[in-house]
Symmetry: C2
Subunit: 244 residues, 2 copies
DNA sequence: TGTCTCCATGTTGTCTGACAACCTGTTTTT
DNA sequence: AAAAACAGGTTGTCAGACAACATGGAGACA
């Protein structure tokens, strides 16, 4: 319900301006090194106060999209100066973009599994086995399984990320998975009875678990890659995603 | 020289405030859901004007660290609401953190190589072969090789990322590699004559190139993982990184 | 008593104007 | 010709005001 209020809240003027400006830079309307219009003229052309423009540009500076010098002006920064990585929420809803995001996740999770195989504790393994059993039971329960399934799978792979011991991997996967799950959930709701691959999927997860159990780094990372690649193909085969 | 001017330029007040606030949130001094002090009181306690505080909070909102509601207040957002991934520049200089960043890169580049093997064009392959030859010659030229070596290696792997056809992978690796290279360069300058592994390193690159040439997805991704894992070990073995 | 309306209060969102700090090119002075 | 002072423009910071909005409480009413 909180997400509802957030979605329905109208964006601030600074949101609008920063989005428009960053779009201009990302799409190349403003070339690297080029000088931005002055804050005053931006304020006039957008029809807002200078404080709003400043908040927007402040965000761009923080992302390394813009570099400003007092007394001179603000300039589009070199692409190599980018200091933040973000994915527009809209991209998670676009079929093609989502598949690319899944590929990115595959690489990182695969690495996480390899590291987890090396560094896992017994408690990590216990937790993963428990999550696996949840996964198993959720898969044999027909329709309502999908929601539970997503939860169990998330718990399983999140623990793998944590067992990797790599703080950046944990954070980044958490950010990606949260929004991927959100999107997958809305897809899953539309057609809930996709249970034809159950035993295959389960075997793929099991392969991951087994590799981590016996601390086989390469096998673990390959098992994750194998599962996620197939999962992406299964998703791509379904026709209920927007084609945009 | 531009980087010099940037580094020496004194940070704005908004930079300071946003850094302090985000630190407080990331380190857990402010729990999720907790209400931030009012802009007025923050302005007083930091000794700045309210506009400065607003610019800082505007950044935090953009990163999904804070969520504000007009008429009510600003609140620390749930970790699951994070919408941007950033790595503090200081972390690239810390031995342990840098190694974790390298692991993250390994996973993504490995995935990129697999995709590149599938989707590469002939032009991609030509470019990679040329970069490989540059790599080869730079490795057999003694001291000054390190700088050229870094450049050639960067070109090689950057082209792999581009050949993957995945925009997110391209952008993210570009961001990571730019800053990793910057750090590696400063290390390489300090002791330039590390040439003992030359033939091994070259063989590792060659394995990547060959796998992509014959479009062997798994071999390509494993070859990258193999090289980068060893590269990280070689770096870790060197004692000239700060231990912090 | 219980409920509903209205309002006072506090907070964020936006606007305006002003001045400081700084850079650049021009003019003036030496 | 070189150096110094000046003028104009831009970003950085400050202060104050009002609008938009949410909340809780006082009071009216059933």
């Amino acid at each position: 319900m909180d997400s509802f209020t957030r979605l329905s809240r109208r964006p601030s003027l600074a949101d609008d301006v920063s989005q428009k400006l960053s779009r201009m830079i990302l799409e190349g309307d403003l070339a690297a090194g080029e000088q931005l219009p002055t804050e005053q003229s931006l304020a006039e052309s957008f029809g807002v106060a200078r404080t709003v423009v400043r908040e927007a540009i402040s965000r761009l500076k923080h992302d390394g999209l813009v570099d400003s010098r007092q007394g001179v002006g603000a300039f589009v920064a070199e692409p190599s100066a980018r200091s933040a990585f973000r994915i527009s929420p809209a991209c998670f809803e676009k079929r093609q973009k989502l598949l690319e995001i899944l590929q990115l996740r595959t690489g990182i999770t695969s690495e996480a599994a390899g590291l987890a195989a090396l560094h896992r504790s017994d408690a990590d393994l216990d937790f993963m086995e428990k999550s696996y059993r949840d996964l198993e039971s959720s898969l044999f329960k027909g329709d309502e399984g999908t929601e539970k399934h997503l939860l169990a799978e998330r718990a399983f792979y999140q623990r793998i990320a944590e067992a990797s011991g790599n703080q950046y991997i944990i954070e980044f996967l958490s950010m990606l998975d949260t929004r991927i799950d959100m999107e997958l959930r809305s897809v899953a709701i539309k057609n809930a009875r996709v249970t034809e691959w159950n035993s295959e999927v389960l075997a793929e997860h099991m392969a991951v678990l087994e590799a981590i159990r016996r601390q086989d780094e390469n096998a673990a990372s390959q098992a994750v890659r194998y599962h996620y690649t197939l999962a992406a193909q299964r998703l791509a085969d379904r026709a209920d995603l927007a084609d945009t």
